[in-house]
Amino acid sequence: MVRKPKAAPIRVLIAKPGLDGHDRGAKVVARALRDAGMEVIYAGLRQTPEEIVRAAVEEDVDLIGLSILSGAHMALFPRVLRLLKSERGAKIPVFAGGIIPDEDARRLKRLGIRAIFGPGTSLDEIVRTATALARGPA
């Protein structure tokens, strides 16, 4: 009798670092990723970078999605990336969504944020990119 290997679902952490309370976008994305068959750990509002990285390690996620509309992305995202590195989680791809000016987006991508989605991005595109990031070579 051979045990059947089950298809392993993608595990993704969706979190909102910083102090803004606008979580509609994060919830819509969480729902879309769920409907694409992913297990979405929804950490919710006002997460510190330390809490996000702790959750990513404990939940052993394949992917982290950060949503931010407060403008504090240049302070918070690099801190998440640094903490991930020190927690041996640097290989976990991080994507982001929210209000992020193009210039900042370019800098964040250089620092290691793998994809950034602004307003008007289709859910299909987010699901496609998230799947590729989680499944593809890191």
Partner: protein, 321 residues
């Protein structure tokens, strides 16, 4: 006696309290990855001692909020806590939103707490098929207490009884009249009833109904469920809840009750595993082996009934070496 074999590296890391190793092993168990087998096997002897507290109850009664307060209570008394929180998988996409972390606050640097969310992955009963084994990994990592939160449960979701040493059924005021408490299922597995949201009117009535239910018995194992009132808003009653859980754990430690309860759970686990293996095997053979396919053909043609076919299948299974 042969000396105990050395632990595989991943098992050693877990026993040392390496959170990342623990998290990865949990994923392997959830995915049915054969890499999990030696880890589970190596760590099994280190389990079966910690209180495993199950929190179950209908959707929206406040299990997650209560869990957060219970963890704070336990941390206040210096105990480390592992948490396994189960949420449902979609029967349509297989995906899930695991939201139990939202209610959870703690200092992120607190190494005395480990929190893992699990999707039910198609299992009925309130927990995933692998929750029992995931709980063992968490216990083997050295946590003093393991808390397990189930999917919001329906009346027949009682799978937590096979996981937890103490089962807390969380309810709220105005869930129904006392006839509801007489119904079979969920109400039968409680070691402790917790009336949460007791800041709302009707809490006293709910407590009274549940106390009467518990007093009516029967209590086949000698334990009558206790009833506590809690509120996560005020908050209040959480220390009482922990005392009620501890009282049940102490009860288990009197005589051989803990061992007897564990033997019952292990019996069900072994039979369940064996049944799963046998049934997978039978399904495969029914479609593959000509002799068994013939059996299926006859049932499909209505010349043999399913019970008779099953009898032959079992007889055939027993004859095999």
């Amino acid at each position: 006696m042969t000396p105990a074999p050395a632990l595989p590296p991943a098992a050693r890391a877990i026993a040392r309290g390496d959170r990342r190793a623990l998290a990865r092993a949990i994923t392997a168990v959830e995915n049915g990855d054969p890499a999990a087998d030696p880890i589970l096997r190596a760590l099994f002897p280190r389990t079966g001692r910690a209180p495993i507290v199950g929190l179950t109850g209908p959707l929206g009664v406040g299990k997650s909020s209560l869990l957060s307060l219970l963890v704070a209570e336990l941390r206040g008394s210096g105990r480390s806590v592992g948490i396994v929180a189960v949420d449902p998988s979609s029967p349509f996409s297989g995906g899930s939103v695991l939201g139990d972390r939202i209610r959870f606050d703690r200092a992120p640097a607190d190494d005395g707490v480990f929190f893992r969310s699990m999707a039910s992955r198609g299992a009925a009963g309130g927990v995933a098929g692998t929750t029992r084994e995931v709980v063992r990994l968490v216990e083997a990592a050295g946590f003093d207490v393991v808390l397990v939160e189930t999917v919001g449960s329906g009346q027949v979701d009682v799978a937590i009884r096979d996981v937890a040493t103490t089962r807390v059924v969380v309810l709220v005021p105005h869930l129904g009249d006392e006839v509801q408490t007489l119904k079979a299922g969920l109400f039968e597995i409680a070691d402790v009833f917790c009336v949460n949201k007791s800041d709302l009117p009707g809490a006293e009535r709910a407590e009274r109904d549940l106390s009467e239910l518990a007093a009516l018995g029967p209590a086949p194992d000698g334990w009558r469920a206790s009833v506590v009132r809690t509120s996560t808003v005020t908050p209040s009653g959480v220390a009482d809840l922990w005392r009620a859980i501890e009282a049940h754990e102490r009860f288990l430690d009197s005589g051989d009750r803990r061992a007897a309860a564990e033997r019952l759970r292990l019996t069900r686990e072994i039979v369940e595993r064996a049944r799963d293996r046998i049934s997978d095997d039978l399904v495969a053979r029914l479609s593959r082996e000509p002799e068994l396919r013939g059996l299926l053909d006859r049932v499909a043609a209505r010349t043999l009934d399913p019970r008779a076919a099953a009898d032959r299948l079992v007889a055939d299974l027993v004859r095999r070496p």
